[in-house]
């Protein structure tokens, strides 16, 4: 496949050389990322007695092979937590994760991907990290059910 692409682009000799190189690099890397759950539920609670609501632990399993450089797992929200006309800023959600390193704590963002874990080289066999999400509780939240999509991305440059 790479050979065919290269030939097709060889009218522009410089670009041809680049595409071949990138294709070869990508095919050599094997990345694997799985989550133990597809939901991160925060139960309703009295802000006076529960100022921070903890979601059940989410386990991230990852594996990196054929990687000559660094790798990173990032987190990004699709937007604020939305429930009809009301929203809860996604920045009210933070997380703590272990083991540290390679995992670290952080605050969710819908605009900038946040680093959940990072390292270098290969991770083989696969390893796991435990992520606990925490929602800062507030009397200002309106009654309702709010959702947002959290995307975990494992990248090896």
């Amino acid at each position: 496949m790479a050979h065919r692409v290269g030939r097709a682009l060889c009218a522009a000799a410089a670009t041809c050389a680049l595409v071949l190189g990138a294709s070869a690099l990508a095919s050599a890397q094997t990345l694997s990322l799985t989550l133990s759950r597809t939901t991160i539920p925060f139960a309703s609670a009295d802000p006076d007695t529960t100022p921070a609501i903890t979601a059940p632990v989410l386990i991230v399993t990852y594996r990196v092979r054929g990687n000559p450089g660094n790798w990173v797992i990032t987190l990004r929200a699709s937007g604020d937590l939305s429930g009809g006309s009301a929203t809860i800023p996604v920045s009210q959600v933070s997380w703590v994760a272990t083991p540290s390193p390679p995992f670290g704590s952080g605050v969710m963002s819908a605009t900038v991907a946040q680093t959940l874990a990072s390292g270098s080289g290969n991770v083989d066999p696969s390893r796991t990290g435990q992520v606990t999400f925490v929602l800062a509780n507030s009397w200002d939240y309106s009654v309702g059910t709010y959702t947002a999509l959290f995307t975990f991305t494992l990248t090896a440059p």
């Binding site: 000799a13 410089a14 670009t15 041809c16 050389a17 680049l18 190189g21 990138a22 690099l25 990508a26 890397q29 990345l31 694997s32 990322l33 799985t34 989550l35 759950r37 597809t38 939901t39 991160i40 539920p41 925060f42 139960a43 309703s44 009295d46 802000p47 006076d48 609501i53 979601a55 989410l58 929200a77 937590l81 429930g83 009809g84 006309s85 009301a86 809860i88 959600v93 999400f133 929602l135 009397w139 200002d140 939240y141 309106s142 009654v143 309702g144 059910t145 709010y146 959702t147 947002a148 999509l149 959290f150 995307t151 975990f152 991305t153 494992l154 990248t155 090896a156 440059p157």
Partner: protein, 167 residues
């Protein structure tokens, strides 16, 4: 032809890491975060009793409650845009045996956003505060009793009932 191609390929290869970051391999997974917020209302007062000391009506025409203002904290979670109200109603006039002082002799001034001044009633709940939507609101009520030579001697009492309402 060979001499032209090779130098150009080298130049582009050097620029490749910055020019083509999309070469990075990646895997993504998603999880849906969900938050359930249930309706709840809580009301707290800094004092459970008020007392008005005796005083010469000529010297003290309006007797402030001993202990100073009552601090009120109203906590509500409700639907967006919902009306939230706090009211107070006396269960009766102030009574001492057969004698009575009208509940309307008790007045208050307020501080705090949404809190209002008023006059006590034993028949119609009186507004203490009004707001819109969820939130924690804190204010004070400074009670006074209108003094009068007409009051019979005695120790009078009644109960004020506060009600916090949200849909």
């Amino acid at each position: 032809m060979l001499r032209w191609t090779v130098p150009l390929a080298v130049l582009v290869a050097l620029a490749a890491p910055a020019a083509f970051p999309a070469f990075a391999a990646s895997r993504s997974r998603t999880a849906t975060a969900s938050v359930t917020v249930a309706a709840i209302a809580k009301l707290s007062l800094s004092a459970s009793a008020l007392s008005f000391p005796d005083g010469d009506p000529d010297v003290v025409p309006a007797i402030p409650a001993a202990g100073g203002p009552v601090t009120i904290t109203a906590r509500v979670r409700t639907t967006p845009g919902a009306a939230v109200s706090l009211s107070v109603l006396a269960t009766s006039d102030l009574r001492a045996g057969m004698a009575a002082i009208p509940a309307s002799a008790v007045r208050w001034t307020s501080t705090g956003a949404g809190f209002v001044a008023g006059t006590m009633s034993a028949t119609v709940a009186q507004a203490v505060g009004a707001w819109v939507g969820s939130g924690l609101r804190t204010g004070t009520q400074a009670y006074t009793l209108t003094n009068s030579w007409a009051y019979a001697t005695g120790s009078y009492s009644t109960t004020f009932v506060y009600t916090l309402t949200a849909p």
